[in-house]
Symmetry: C2
Subunit: 476 residues, 2 copies
């Protein structure tokens, strides 16, 4: 059957389905541009127009999927007559369609408008350290997202329904058991590390680093990693993120004069996201085959580059000359010291995106527990700050001095993204697995990080690395 | 009747119409953001995705106007039951609807895709001075736009149909007679000026001006003019333009180290566009009452600020200290010299956006004649460079040494915008009329330009100025 399907023209219903889906995805990618602009370029008072644009596109996108002929085409199609690639497209469209058809258009529009409004409120609340500014928006989003989950599956745990938006291929229970295992392993491990008397160069990067120069260095690193600036950009935003498609995938970072790693590692992290997206096949743009897989797979790519490359001693061998070139103040820094500083387990860090590799997951688990309680109706929005601080005390032994560096630090809830956080930890776990496999299959993998970019490319290892990611994506 | 309508709730069909139109316009304003991004921020190789996004939004926007209930609502509505504002909304929607319903969706999509592709080709052609790179795109756009005009009115002059997209309230014949009069008056006047032996400080601004500092100065000027950076931005693009709505209206300029006026005057020009847009009523966003009037009215605002303020001696009194502050090299420059330099009639300038107030219209007339011939089928695309050079010789006594500074200098044809250029001259004529009226009605208008911004605002003249523009807009 498969052989027959490979050689024949696709059935008319398939071609028609693809046309509809390409339009649907074009609207989605237009929304991404508007959202990138909102976070990076839009003037402060542009929100009312942007909210209306985004909510209109959300509802149009919903209508394209649900009200047109997509459902009919899906009913008509005989999967047996399709190639395996075509079957994958249909499987993915069917999954999206079945969820979307249950959600009323007005609700889609309300969620989009509410999250666009919430974004500005969150930015302001964070700046003013005033949770009350953000609370009514969060309350509205929790309520809207509960309704959304209820429409999709009234009998399921609403949080599990939301989680499936980001991670459709893994049951929540499995995710939960991974997070449990991480917590049970990491809490005592971190205690041991903190109690250890090993003398590490944790303060090797202390000092003040000019932020414009940090930006130059971030660009150096991106050049080194072979980021394609003809298909990307580096900008600054409150919260580092990546946005785009295989033709145009942009990253952001942010700069703190006291913390050069706080811009460097997020830059490498976002590069990992972008490198994955830029590796998607051009000719499949607008179809599920040209789109990224689940968020945890995406995160596996960013964490791979951040943790397994960016924090490796060999990579610092390559990076250090660039670093000291930009910051002559660090002329005495050794590769080993930089490596130790980049891999330290912080005693005091409150900020997820600046966390070390181990405590990172505890930051995630705090958010996971709070959002489950919020969506489950077990926690009121005004109790979030106290609950947050309580859990930080419990898992990290820290009490945030303010909500700005506490429950207001992340953008996600202002997007109405509940169920998103666990994918970060799942991605890190996947990254570790990918790395272990790559290390097994590629000779002297670590050592190659120390080679100049052109040599690395000639040896093919960088590309192999990405190919691994893509293969995994297809298989998952 | 009108009094009754004012006090009653609007008829249901009107409210429903407004909902549809707000969605339609939200898509349009989303397209503007994508297009701004494409010209200002998008990485070089992002075009394929952007073209697909823009063409999908074009066709969706078309469908929202034509395939939904807009036509039914328009049929149902009894204009007598509406307030005058509501009648204006309906009149404008009806006009747009009647044109759009005649154009097939595929053609709309083709035009959008072709112009998005053409943009990159134009940029590259201009950079490489290679008209052949752009020619096939131009050819396709001429063909598509002819088809478009044919659909709207098969019996009319296709150029007149296209012109009405930009200037629906003025017959082409009237525009033509205004342009004729300009040409007949300006050609001998310019000859007289060139033959004159008046000794003017035309070289007062010669020299080299650091472009970063030019940008600082452009920002100074925008502060001086009271541009609201909370609702706007200044960026750089190949071709200066303004894009946005009353919440977010952004301008661009460009910088040439040899020509400080070449960034300053376009900045003031684009400010005029933005100031008009930012003055539109917030609460009418998404309806025709919150949208700008015809392009010539828009242009009347930009030319008013550029020509009647930015080129006035009194304004330079205010500007000069900023100028010499940024450029100490110009410490000997006097207000009078700067004024003379800013108002000189160039002997040699080939570039429309850098033209003086008089020769400007000859640049327009060249384009007007060429695009009429192209759309009328009297000129083939590959004949454009020769025809361009011939007309420049005839009207301006100049032969462009290359197409880059000849027929490739403007972005408009790459957008498929045929019929747009005449609105520049019409706007300038309107600006002169507005200025004459303002000068009659406001005491010491010129002298007020020399006052600091806060004083000007306190006196109310700047706002009065804008109000004049808005009133005109409503009346035209």
């Amino acid at each position: 059957m498969a052989t027959e399907a490979e050689s024949a023209d696709p059935p008319a219903a398939y071609t028609a389905l693809l046309d509809e889906i390409e339009r649907y995805n074009a609207v989605g990618s237009a929304q991404s541009v508007l959202s990138w602009d909102q976070q990076v370029m839009m003037p402060e008072r542009g929100t009312p127009a942007r909210s209306q644009q985004l909510s209109t596109l959300s509802s149009l996108s919903h209508e394209l999927l649900v009200d047109g002929d997509v459902g009919d085409h899906l009913d008509t199609l005989d999967d047996e007559s399709l190639t395996t690639d075509q079957q994958a497209v249909v499987r993915e469209v069917r999954r999206q369609y079945r969820r979307a058809e249950r959600v009323p258009r007005d609700l889609v529009e309300d969620i989009s408008e509410a999250s666009s409004e919430a974004l500005g409120a969150w930015e302001s609340a964070r700046e003013n350290d005033d949770f009350d500014e953000f609370a009514p928006h969060l309350d509205e989003l929790v309520d809207l997202k509960r309704q959304y989950a209820e429409h999709i599956d009234p009998d399921a745990d609403p949080y599990a329904v939301l989680f499936a938006d980001y991670e459709p291929c893994l049951p929540l229970s499995k995710a939960e058991s991974i997070l449990d295992e991480l917590r049970e392993t990491l809490v005592p491990l971190i205690d041991d590390i903190r109690a250890s008397d090993a003398d590490l160069a944790t303060d090797a990067l202390d000092g003040t680093y000019d932020t414009d120069t940090q930006e130059d260095l971030a660009r150096d690193v991106l050049e080194l990693l072979d980021y394609d600036f003809d298909r990307g950009r580096l900008d600054t935003s409150t919260h580092p993120f990546t946005s785009g498609n295989q033709f145009d995938c942009r990253i952001t970072t942010r700069f703190d004069p006291e913390d050069p790693l706080g811009s460097l590692l997020p830059t490498i992290h976002e590069f990992g996201h972008a490198y994955y997206t830029l590796g998607l096949p051009d000719e499949e743009f607008g179809t599920p085959l040209g789109d990224d897989r689940d968020l945890s797979v995406h995160e596996s790519q960013s964490r791979l580059w951040e943790n397994h490359v960016g924090r490796s001693e060999d990579f610092w061998e390559l990076l250090l000359p660039k670093f000291t070139d930009r910051f002559p103040q660090a002329e005495d820094l050794s590769v080993r010291d930089a490596y130790e500083a980049a891999n330290q387990v912080y005693d005091e860090n409150l900020i997820r995106v600046e966390a070390d590799e181990l405590t990172y997951h505890l930051h995630i688990i705090v958010r996971f527990e709070i959002e489950r309680e919020l969506i489950g109706g077990d926690l009121a929005v005004d109790e979030v700050p106290d609950r947050w601080n309580e859990l930080y005390e419990e898992y990290l032994g820290l009490t945030p001095p303010s909500d700005a560096v506490g429950c207001l630090q992340d953008i996600h809830w202002s997007h109405g993204s509940f169920g998103y956080f666990p994918t970060y930890s799942l991605g890190s776990v996947m990254a570790a697995q990918l790395y272990a496999a790559a290390d097994r299959d590629i000779d002297e993998l670590d050592e190659r990080f120390a080679l100049a970019s052109s040599t690395r490319l000639a040896s093919g290892s960088a590309r192999t690395f990405t190919a691994t990611g893509n293969d995994t994506r297809r298989a998952s």
